[in-house]
């Protein structure tokens, strides 16, 4: 399976038209919640059975995202990476996507170590109910996004509380993101965006 996630920045008054147009292309669309950072006004999430299906619909998606109702979009198309689901039926939770760009020169084993540590987060932070870490095939927007780190929480408290405050995050994982740490390799420009889709998308 493949997905495309787009973090859409809207022109004033365009939410209805843009949401409807993306929805007509079979995206799940929701307004972002307060507290996102470079996260846009809408999240549009598409699933595809294969890459050809994505290529077929991409011109129509580009027409919407390149239209007058959109001022900017950060997008990542990816094959589904490592994932887990503790709550596959989660219907009222919060979806969060982190787009990151591991753009500093590192070896493959170092990148593998980063990814291996990232996917251990749900083990230490059970508030992460469903999750997926994927390498990006095609990126658009402010950076050449290399990874999408998606999670679903039962509520926003899980994201703002346990996820942010657990030491496995700030005292272990964050060194890859921190220019003060020798292991730093990820651009400080991130997209941190979240919304409530009204259904689980990581287990769809």
């Amino acid at each position: 399976m493949f997905s495309l996630v787009s973090l859409v920045h809207l022109a004033e008054g365009a939410e209805g038209d843009v949401s409807a147009a993306l929805g007509a292309l079979e995206a799940r669309v929701a307004r972002t919640l307060p507290g996102t950072f470079n996260g846009g006004d809408l999240i549009a999430h598409f699933d595809f059975a294969d890459e050809d299906s994505y290529r077929d619909v991409l011109p129509a998606i580009d027409a919407v995202l390149g239209g007058g109702g959109v001022t900017r979009a950060d997008s990542a198309f990816y094959r589904h990476g490592r994932h887990g689901a503790a709550d596959p039926g989660l219907a009222t939770g919060v979806y969060r996507a982190l787009l990151l760009s591991a753009d500093r020169p590192v070896s493959r084993p170092v990148l593998d170590k980063f990814e291996a540590e990232m996917v251990r987060m749900p083990h230490y932070i059970p508030a992460i109910r469903n999750w997926r870490l994927s390498r990006v095939i095609e990126a658009r927007g402010e950076r050449r996004w290399t990874h999408v780190w998606e999670q679903e929480y039962a509520s926003l408290d899980g994201l703002n509380g346990p996820y942010m405050l657990h030491p496995y995050h700030w005292a272990r994982i964050d060194r890859w993101f921190d220019p003060e740490c020798p292991d730093w390799m990820i651009d400080t420009r991130l997209c941190h965006s979240f919304c409530a889709f009204g259904r689980a998308v990581l287990t769809a």
Binding site: G161, P162, M164, L165, H166, P167, W170, A171, D174, R175, F177, D178, P179, E180, C181, P182, W184, T188
Partner: protein, 116 residues
């Protein structure tokens, strides 16, 4: 919640032979003021061996404290959005063999810091 737990930010720096003293002076003069402004308090500075070596490496361990994970994020957010901080580390890299930065608490605070 863990807002009051003391977190230690520990830099361990192995200086190039003969550069330990100059490196630590630069750290005090050019790095420490900004670190304090970002909310860290200098805990201690240890130099090993306790003399300045001319022809070998000193290992310098600098420990800072900050109170709780939210304050840690506040410090880190300021640091990563100030290009001068990354520039500082890049500039002094020529005086460094290797370095590490670790984040720690007292053993007795582990349960509290994990209670999120």
């Amino acid at each position: 919640m863990s807002t009051a737990t003391t977190i230690y930010v520990i830099d361990e720096i192995v200086a190039l032979p003969g550069k330990g003293r100059a490196l630590l002076e630069a750290y005090h003069e050019r790095y420490a003021p900004g670190a304090r402004a970002r909310g860290m308090a200098l805990d201690r500075v240890l130099v090993s061996p306790p003399m300045w070596l001319d022809d070998d490496s000193n290992t310098i361990t600098i420990s800072w404290t900050i109170q709780g994970a939210p304050a840690w994020w506040g410090m880190s957010f300021q640091s990563r959005n100030d290009p001068g901080v990354a520039d500082w580390w890049a500039e002094v890299d020529e005086m460094i063999v290797r370095r590490s930065r670790h984040f720690a608490t007292a053993e007795s605070d582990i349960a509290e810091i994990c209670n999120v």
